[in-house]
């Protein structure tokens, strides 16, 4: 690793990373959905901080707004709506063997991902890291650097995403609509 990072940067990077990791583990072991959701919010917020440190300020903002804000609120809202806040069935988590198997699969997966990451890391440095205000200004600012590819190279995908959102809106409305007695079932 030839790049140089200031200590304060490194410290914060590890800090938020460890927070995210710890929060994720806590999240996945919570029995209460409400607790789990809140711990997930912690993970997401930590990730937002990491995004900032990775020069993705815009993504970080969106992360907080959309994910931590909107999506997780919806989750909590549903938990409330269905009144599941206190629900904690005994069989809600798989048994010992299920957990062992899951651990094994998880280990295998993480090992593979690590290997792949190493491979990806070795392919790195085709484009020099562009950090700092100068680089950002060069590419049209924090927003501009994202906007340019989004509306040029990925315009079609962008438009399709909007269609997807529309479909999702309609779909969720239709699905969640309370059926009348006649067409129930």
């Amino acid at each position: 690793m030839n790049e140089f990072y200031p200590l304060v940067y490194t410290f914060h990077f590890y800090l938020f990373g460890l927070v995210a990791l710890a929060a994720a583990i806590v999240f996945v072991t919570r029995k209460s959905p409400v607790a789990a959701a809140l711990w997930l919010v912690v993970v997401m917020t930590s990730l937002a901080a990491l995004y900032v440190m990775l020069d993705a300020e815009f993504v970080a903002v969106i992360q907080v707004l959309v994910y931590a804000g909107a999506i997780m609120v919806v989750f909590l809202f549903i938990v409330m709506l269905l009144n599941l806040g206190t629900l904690s069935e005994l069989g809600e988590i798989r048994g010992k063997w299920g957990r062992i198997a899951a651990a094994l699969v998880g280990l295998a997966l993480v090992a593979e991902l690590a290997a792949l990451s190493r491979a990806a890391y070795s392919l790195r440095v085709t484009v020099p890291a562009r950090s700092g205000p100068e680089a950002i200004a060069e590419t049209g600012g924090v927003i501009g650097s994202i906007a340019a590819p989004m509306f040029r190279d990925y315009l079609l995908a962008f438009e399709l995403t909007s269609v997807l959102l529309l479909v999702a809106i309609i779909g969720s409305v239709v699905l969640a609509r309370k059926r009348s007695e006649h067409d129930a079932g």
Binding site: V43, V59, F75, R94, S131, V167
Partner: protein, 97 residues
């Protein structure tokens, strides 16, 4: 910090996967999926530093899709819950043909 980012991404992703595997609460499973998506986003953003901002664009797309997915998925959960009065996946086998 790329290596660390990717390692963290892998760890979070795996946690999400294990969560999907061991949890039976539909909503928590759902949240695990969200965690996985976030892990992937982290990879995108980290790699964007090395390969250009397209990665960030993808991250935004992922969020959009995640939002849509959350909306639809939760709507489905509501619908199912109305039907079987539970969100325990063990008791839900509507996919069976």
């Amino acid at each position: 910090m790329l290596a660390e980012s990717l390692a963290l991404s892998a760890a979070l992703f795996t946690i999400g996967v294990v969560g999907v595997l061991v949890r039976r609460n539909a909503i928590i499973v759902f949240m695990c999926v969200e965690l996985m998506l976030n892990a992937v986003n982290l990879s995108f953003v980290a790699l964007a530093r090395a390969h250009g901002t397209a990665g960030q664009v993808f991250a935004i797309f992922v969020m959009t899709v995640a939002a849509a997915e959350a909306a639809v998925g939760l709507a489905i959960i509501i619908a199912i819950f109305r039907h079987v009065r539970t969100v325990n996946l063990k008791n839900i086998n509507l996919l069976r043909g």
